[in-house]
Amino acid sequence: MKFIDEFRDGKLARDLASAIAREARPERSYNLMEFCGGHTHAISRYGLKDLLPANVNMVHGPGCPVCVLPIGRIDNAIALAARPGLILCTYADTMRVPASNGTTLLKAKAQGADIRMIYSCADAIRIAQENPGRDVVFFAIGFETTTPPTAVAITQAKALGLANFSVFCNHVLTPAAISNILESKEVRELGTVPLDGFIGPAHVSTVIGSQPYEYFAEEYQRPVVIAGFEPLDVMQAILMLVRQLNDGRAEVENEFTRAVTRDGNAKAKALVAEVFELRRTFEWRGLGEVPYSALKIKDQYSAFDAETKYGISYRSVPDNRACECGAILRGVKKPADCKVFGTVCTPDNPIGSCMVSSEGACAAHYTYGRFRDVAVVTASPVPAARAAS
């Protein structure tokens, strides 16, 4: 498949793996956080761990949009969906995130709520047009990648005079989360979480550009390499980070030059600025309240703001006590460190949000990598036979 296979080439991967092994110095370790769930997914799905030397450690970051959504916001969405006649439109991943009292959007749907799984917020606009007698709410979540399309939907709704359409906005910001991690006491004071560098977001950076990360590189002296979501992108970025650390550099480098520029997408940024403004604070699952880390809809678009329209009030709900999602999202713990991982918490019955989305650190490890946690009789490579035609 053109534009895909080139970035999954096994031979190039082996070449990069040997370069990393050659250049990584045996006397030190390299602890690299991949911020994005997309990277976590690629690392797990392609088994990149098997290609890295033992002293290059990947630490999963909080960049899974579903994982960081706090329980209280899911409760709000379920309450909205329960309103008579209302249609709630949502991205699919959100359907299974556990809310209070063991409910989920999926269970609410089974009990009769009209919840529609959509691929694009343009579908939500279409549903609102097709159902003029019913209120339609788009449950907007995600980082800077999904924010511009929501802005488009809101401006379209205004232009069309779609009075039955509104957005329950939960968009969050990447740089604020990175700051929060670097400022956390585990990283700064205790040194319990060694973080030597970051693999920077792929799709988010196509919108915001590479410039916002310059502050982290400079202020916290941590190199950042922005990388695409394909496995070769990740390998290349790891090599670039190893080189920066060996040289004592802390710069922002861009591996994903085919899509990311320093300034990002000016049009998308302008549109977001037109429709949204910063929230003073927003609760993240795992990180807690993070100042200026999320967006709300501006007053001039308040007719399309579900929070205003339905008077939604937020109530913070603590995670299940046994759940270590918070520590895992900050890189303090690994999935297998959690007592409930793989026992009561599985992708079929997730206790915490990290076990829900395939981008979540726990779900990715459970689905693709948990065989590494147990002694497995390893097989010889698959015997040679005639290759598939």
Binding site: M1, I4, G10, A13, A17, G37, G38, H41, S44, R45, Y46, G47, L48, K49, D50, L51, P65, V66, Y91, A92, D93, T94, M95, R96, L106, M117, Y119, D123, R126, I141, G142, F143, T145, T146, P231, T346, P347, D348, S357, E359, A363, Y366, T367, Y368, G369, R370, F371, V374, V376, V377, T378, A379, P381, V382, P383, A385, R386, A387, A388, S389
Partner: protein, 350 residues
């Protein structure tokens, strides 16, 4: 009253503009007429013509096999097939996966009030064509009508019986370490063909459903390698689910090689932008076979010689593993678990 008894005139069923109504399931004349003019005519065979509530038939020596399958596919018509031929192929394949020769089918229809008779006729005729082509007649059936809103147009349940020749022992619990794992062709075609038509997912593809009856392929495989241990058609849940089922049943593990699994380029592309994994996407005309290592090359050659096995491949090996993991060597050089599907396969957000 004239006192003259007129010869019965029965207005023919209007298959152009008519709709299913409650009388078509009421047990009266309308139902009898629908059965005569549609089902008996389309499936025509000696058992149906007897007009009994059951079919009586003889079977030869060997173990009898029985399988049933309900079909609720939406949309009802899709590139490469429809619910009618799918309901015939699905059950024939379930019977054939025991190594059996499928002999007879039964079909139960649940029709929704208001369903166009033209669509019903098209579906029944497609079933009849599939059954004739497979040489497996539909010998008995049933029709019920539910009120509008209580069904989704039409649901079809088919049941099949067949006979396993003496000496053939094929079962999901017979895989042993060292055995080879084969697939009969490209994975994920049916699921992608269906998804391309789903509401709000319309994208253009030339991929067609692979729906097909596999008993001919199975017969050719058994003739070449009677020692085949397991056969299964990877329908819902795809290849990944089938391998996990077989690993659990047989109490073993498996290792497969990603680069050996045949996947059509368009299926890969569609899965890529929908955030799905082709290994979990449904097939309706493919099978997974597990056989002793010594038989593998011979079996592969026999499969490739059959029209439904042209893209067959040896994809991996059964291993000893108390955890029953199915592992895959990725094209990238790493290894990962191919796990059970969790719930429905939901697309990822970014």
């Amino acid at each position: 009253m004239s006192g003259v008894v007129r010869s019965d005139y029965v207005r023919p069923v209007d298959f152009r503009h008519g709709y299913v109504d409650m009388t078509h399931g009421g047990g009266g004349r309308a139902m009898a007429q629908l059965i005569d003019e549609l089902f008996v005519r389309a499936f025509d065979n000696e058992w149906l013509r007897q007009a009994n509530d059951q079919a009586a038939f003889r079977i030869g020596a060997g173990r009898m096999v029985m399988a049933t399958d309900s079909h609720v596919v939406s949309p009802l018509f899709f590139p490469g097939g429809d619910i009618g031929c799918l309901s015939v192929h699905g059950t024939i394949n379930d019977v054939a996966m025991a190594g059996a020769t499928p002999l007879y089918l039964a079909a139960g229809f649940i029709l929704e009030e208001g369903f166009p008779l033209a669509d019903l006729k098209r579906i029944v005729e497609s079933m009849a064509a599939a059954s004739r082509e497979a040489g497996v007649p539909v010998v008995t059936g049933d029709t019920k009508v539910v009120e509008r809103g209580k069904g989704d147009g039409v649901f079809i349940t088919t049941t099949g019986v067949g006979v396993v020749p003496v000496g053939i022992e094929i079962s999901g619990d017979r895989a042993r370490p060292g055995d080879r794992i084969l697939v009969s062709g490209t994975m994920g075609d049916h699921g992608v063909a269906i998804m391309s038509l789903r509401e709000n997912l319309t994208f253009e593809t030339t991929i067609r459903s692979d729906t097909a009856a596999l008993h001919g392929l199975v017969a050719a495989m058994i003739a070449t390698a009677p020692g085949i241990r397991c056969l299964r058609d990877p329908t819902r849940g795809g290849l990944a689910t089938t391998l996990n089922e077989l690993a659990r049943q047989s109490g073993c593990g498996m290792v497969i090689a990603e680069q050996r699994i045949p996947v059509h380029g368009q299926v890969n592309a569609a899965c890529e932008f929908l955030g799905l994994d082709p290994l979990y996407v449904a097939n309706e005309g493919k099978l997974v076979a597990i056989c002793p290592a010594a038989d593998a090359d011979r079996l592969l050659a026999a499969m490739r010689d059959h029209p439904l096995g042209g893209d067959a491949a040896i994809i991996g090996e059964v291993i000893d593993d108390p955890h029953h993991f199915v592992q895959m060597d990725t094209t990238f050089g790493g290894r990962r678990v191919i796990d059970w599907l969790t719930g429905e396969q939901l697309p990822r957000i970014c």
